[in-house]
């Protein structure tokens, strides 16, 4: 991130690396749409976070979660109903789009069909009234950067999808924005091209040092590219963190479910040690602050059918004395390691080449998906009885979801306002994972 922008000397804007406080701050952003059925939908629901200078920030979420609306609001193509957006010390949310030092790469690329590639890239620079010679030099530079020099005089329609994508990138980067916004830029490409463009984008981001805000619904893309990821659901980020944090320590059931494959197991839990009622209160605020083990010496211990008691890595609230665990299939092993947390019968076995995917049914009927890496043990056969081992930290308890359906208890008050149509959210928190929770234990979200 300290690499300077590839520049033409002289007329450049402020080099972002020279002014370290150029972070993009979104505070209390809010936008409501009215659907054709005359109901209000909070596209962006009181969102506040900060994107660091030079960061590759990914906004991830299912379609309709508000991530694109937020991106367009940063670009100035949509206006917020409330809240502020600052870039460094400058408030930008009330500026016209052309006055904001941000540029966008559109999902449809939006290349001007009547202009050549070179003219497309030059467009933004001409709007700034730069001298012709400088524009020409910068266009050449950008064409080289995206390796399309020989295409300069072609029209966009004569280019392949991947090439058009690179032109769109070059056109936006030519203006040396302080923040580059990318709206699902790779969605229209096929898998192989997309992989290539992912590393290309990452390379461009590193060489230019520009803050990238990248919107996608592809979790794999988000994990592989993002410095930090914000997982959006129902108009607000459920969790913001590094790819590791998001994957390993999901803050909510939604995040755990959306990122990768996971098992949800709801099981009775015992509180061990510490002081009873008071401790619970402390834990609540601690878990909200993201602290791992709260100040109290309390522990949660669960025992799954056919397994040894396991002390959970984190203490959470246990309404009805139950806790929901998320267990990644690849973190479960059939060979002894860590603790033997459960045992059951292999009910389904699929050979995938790179691994075996088994479903293990526990004594109480719970199904767990397990991935067995090669070499495949001979005893892994359908209907075989197996013991499941895992590192105790792989059994992650989820903070119980409130009635409104949101993970962190602190947010529930904000969200319970009457204007909010709360119904779909409770439904959204229902189990949608590959393996559902134990049949006799309804999910806490239903309460």
């Amino acid at each position: 991130m300290t690499t300077p922008i590839p520049t033409i000397s002289g007329h450049d804007r402020v080099n972002p690396t020279d002014s370290p406080s150029r972070e993009l701050t979104i505070s209390h952003a809010r936008k409501t749409f009215i659907t054709p059925e005359k109901t209000h939908v909070n596209a962006i629901d009181d969102v506040s976070f900060t994107i660091k200078q030079g960061e590759f920030f990914v906004m991830l979420g299912p379609s309709g979660c508000g991530k694109t609306t937020l991106l367009r609001s940063i670009a100035g193509l949509d206006t917020l109903d409330g809240g502020e957006i600052h870039l460094g010390n400058q408030r930008i949310d009330q500026l016209a789009p052309h006055a904001r030092p941000v540029n966008t790469v559109f999902q449809s690329y939006a290349l001007f069909p009547h202009l050549t590639i070179a003219q497309n890239i030059a467009f933004g620079l001409e709007m700034e009234g730069r001298p012709k010679a400088e524009v020409a030099a910068r266009v050449t530079e950008m064409l080289e950067l995206v390796q399309l020099s020989e295409m300069a005089n072609r029209k966009p329609a004569q280019l392949s999808g991947g090439q058009q994508q690179r032109v769109a990138l070059a056109r936006a980067l030519a203006k040396q924005p302080q923040v580059l916004l990318l709206d699902e830029p790779l969605a229209a490409l096929d898998l192989k091209l997309r992989r290539g463009m992912q590393s290309e984008l990452k390379r461009l981001q590193r060489t230019t040092g520009i803050t990238f805000v990248f919107v996608t619904h592809d979790q794999e893309e988000a994990l592989s590219m993002g410095d930090r990821i914000a997982v959006f659901n129902q108009g607000r980020p459920e969790q913001i963190g590094t790819p590791e944090e998001i994957y390993e320590k999901p803050a909510s059931r939604f995040v755990a479910d959306f990122i990768g494959e996971t098992n949800f197991v709801t099981t009775p839990a015992q509180r061990v040690g510490g002081v009873g009622g008071g401790g619970e209160h402390v834990n609540e605020s601690d878990s909200e602050n993201g602290l791992e083990n709260g100040g109290a010496d309390q522990r949660l211990v669960v025992t799954l059918p056919g397994g040894d008691p396991v002390t959970l890595p984190k203490v959470v609230d246990t309404p009805n004395g139950e806790v929901t665990l998320t267990i990644r299939p690849e973190r479960v092993s059939l060979t002894p390691t860590g603790v033997r947390f459960a045992s059951g019968r292999i009910s389904k076995l699929v050979y995938m080449g790179t691994d075996l995917r088994c479903n293990v049914t526990l004594a109480d009927g719970t199904e767990l998906a397990v991935r067995v890496p090669p070499p495949f043990p001979a005893e892994v056969q359908p209907d075989a009885e197996v013991s499941l081992y895992a590192d105790p930290v792989a059994l992650r308890p989820l903070t119980p979801e409130t009635a409104a359906g949101h993970g962190a208890p602190g947010r529930a008050t904000v969200h319970a306002k009457p204007a909010t149509p709360a119904t779909p959210q409770a439904a959204g928190a229902q189990p949608t994972a590959a393996t559902a929770a134990t049949p006799d234990a309804p999910t806490q979200a239903a309460q």
Binding site: L77, H98, N103, A110, F123, K175
Partner: protein, 331 residues
């Protein structure tokens, strides 16, 4: 055609229905070779009536006009004598007096000039008025767009003459405009039977012909391109000039053609609203076939107009081929 097919396949049909093995389908399939290979294709014979009608009603009159323009005028006037002469074309530019001296006479040329001027003014004013209307319609929600396009076509629902008479009622000495002006104590204005009234009538008549093709080209416009232009630092006026206008060019050109060509030869508005004070080509040609009873000269004037417009069309076609822009003359 369909009858022929029906009789051909009918005897086979029962066998097909009874046969569930599929074996007997084979000979049937070979017989089908006699059917046209392209579904929905017409045999050429079916087109002949349409071709005859087209020839009679479009090319026929044209050929007659061209032939008439090279024939002589009978001494009594009216009709023609089948004797080849170039006199009508000579008369367009030269006039002979009683002594037989032939001299250049620019009067007919100036009629062409006046027509050209009126048509040009009509086209330019229509273009300036139509582009914002078309852009506005194209940016409305789709349902509203359909309604607005329908409203644009409302004038077509009544006869042009009726609408022109309505304008006479608006513009005459006791019309709406003058009555309104009198209410504010303004002096009476001579509006009807002026060149301006004729011009106004032309603009009114041809405005929809400009709006519709421009709208058609803008309706398919991807407004995300405009967003991209804003994002790259363009202001509204720049977006219109550099992105929207170039992409609407095909529509603008067809609009110009659709307005200019009929406006050039307009007849109704100069006569009814202009009071015939300004002689335009349309009136001139009409008078040659009417009062002046000089059919060959009227035909020659028509041919000259036709050639002028054809040259313009060819120029536009060449431009469209060179720039790769598709220009269609349609609504």
């Amino acid at each position: 055609m369909s009858l022929h097919l029906g009789t051909g396949t009918a005897p086979e049909a029962p066998t097909v229905r009874d046969d569930r093995t599929g074996v007997n389908l084979v000979p049937l399939a070979t017989k089908r070779k006699k059917q046209p290979k392209v579904p929905g294709r017409f045999p050429w014979i079916a087109v002949i009536p349409a071709l005859i009608v087209a020839a009679l009603f479009t090319i026929g009159p044209l050929v007659i006009i061209v032939i008439f323009s090279f024939m002589s005028r009978p001494p009594t006037g009216g009709g023609i004598i089948y004797e080849f002469t170039l006199e009508p074309y000579v008369n367009f530019l030269f006039q002979s007096d009683f002594l037989g001296n032939t001299a250049f006479d620019p009067r007919y040329l100036s009629v062409f000039g006046d027509s050209l001027w009126q048509a040009a003014v009509t086209t330019i004013v229509c273009l300036i008025l139509a582009f914002p209307i078309a852009l506005w319609i194209a940016t409305r929600p789709e349902k509203k767009q359909n309604l607005l396009v329908m409203l644009i076509t409302v004038p077509f629902w009544t006869n042009l003459l009726v609408r022109t008479y309505a304008w006479m009622l608006i513009l005459n000495d006791n019309g709406i405009v003058n009555t309104g002006a009198a209410a504010f104590g303004l002096p009476q204005m001579d509006l009807l039977y002026t060149p301006m009234a004729s011009q106004l009538g032309l603009i009114y008549t041809f405005l929809p012909f400009m709006v519709l093709p421009i709208y058609a080209s803008l309706a398919g416009f991807d407004f995300r391109l405009a967003e991209a232009a804003y994002d790259l630092g363009a202001r509204k006026s720049t977006v219109i000039r550099r992105i929207i206008l170039p992409l609407a060019t095909p529509g603008i050109i067809s609009g110009i053609l659709l307005v200019f060509m009929p406006a050039f030869g307009s007849y109704v508005q100069p006569v009814l609203l202009g009071g015939g004070k300004v002689l335009l080509i349309g009136n001139l040609i009409a008078s040659q076939f009417g009062d002046s009873r000089n059919w060959p000269f009227g035909a020659a004037l028509s041919v000259i107009t036709l050639v002028l417009l054809m040259v313009a069309l060819i120029a536009i076609a060449l431009y469209s081929r060179k720039s790769g822009k598709k220009v269609e003359i349609s609504l």
